[in-house]
């Protein structure tokens, strides 16, 4: 086991990609993607500047990038995460700071940016249900019903997708604009 343990030490900087099939312990700085099939621990002194992928991720340090756990993501006290968090189980302890989209549940092995946007549009994340395919298939229909939500997604772009989905309270002006545009076409 000790032979398999990989450690990026405190004063170590890695610029580039780290891949492999074993556990990884980050106490230093990794500016690059981490993708291992074992567990990843980002220590309190650890700093990762890109996405992290692994079986079970435990974060006590800072990550600027998406976290994708095959089994679980555990953000402990002192963790600072700017990025999306996805895993079957996500734990965020008191004292952990997160800015990004969080999704728990099965079936999000390799999420794309598009699927993330759909999920944000369709359902509040508390339900953790996969977005109904209808939402993906008929975005145009959704514009009529949900007016403001649809237009804010069009204009807000990524900022809107990163926040939890807004309540469906149509902004009337925008809704009118949207309909007017429809008619013009």
């Amino acid at each position: 086991m000790a032979n398999n343990a990989s450690v990026i030490g405190r004063t170590t900087k890695v610029r580039g990609r780290v891949t492999g099939a074993v556990d990884l312990h980050v106490e230093g700085f990794v500016d690059g993607e981490i993708a291992v099939s074992g567990d990843v621990t980002v220590d309190a002194h650890g700093l990762v500047g890109a996405s992290v992928q692994g079986r079970r991720l435990v974060v006590r340090g800072a990550v600027k990038g998406d976290l994708l756990g095959e089994e679980a993501v555990v953000l402990e006290d002192g963790a600072r995460v700017v990025g999306d968090v996805r895993a079957p189980r996500v734990a965020i302890a008191s004292g952990a700071l997160v800015r990004g989209y969080v999704e728990t549940g099965e079936g999000n092995g390799a999420p794309s940016r598009a699927s993330r946007g759909e999920a944000a549009r369709s359902a509040p994340q508390v339900r953790a249900a996969p977005p109904p395919p209808k939402a993906a298939a008929k975005p145009a229909a959704a514009v009529h019903v949900a007016g403001g939500g649809g237009s804010s997604n069009n204009s807000g772009g990524r900022a809107a997708a990163r926040r939890p989905p807004p309540p469906v309270v149509p902004a009337l002006k925008k809704a009118k604009g949207q309909i007017a545009k429809k008619k013009e076409r």
Binding site: N3, N4, A5, S6, V7, I8, G9, R10, T11, T12, K13, V14, R15, G16, R17, V18, T19, G20, A21, V22, D23, L24, E27, G28, G32, V36
Partner: protein, 104 residues
Amino acid sequence: MASTVIGAGITVEGEITTDEDVVVSGTVRGKLSAKEAVTIEHGATVEADVTGGSLVVAGSLTGNVVANERVDLQQGARVIGNVKAARVTIADGAQFKGNVDMDV
């Protein structure tokens, strides 16, 4: 006690810089700069220029090496590249192709 370990099964593609000891049992491609001891263990693959305080190689290393103190190529080591250090030893059974510069 090494503080940074690139374990067997881990691949790092890019640049590693550190002030502490490094042990490589896995794969490193790119560049490896350390101030203290660097150990490339048997079974490890390093395709990188390596700088360090001292270097012990038992695995495979392709790249140029500069060490402040010494470089030891152990039995089973396979090194292709130029080596520059105040002291260089090559053990019987080590494969080596490159220039040696002990003129520090």
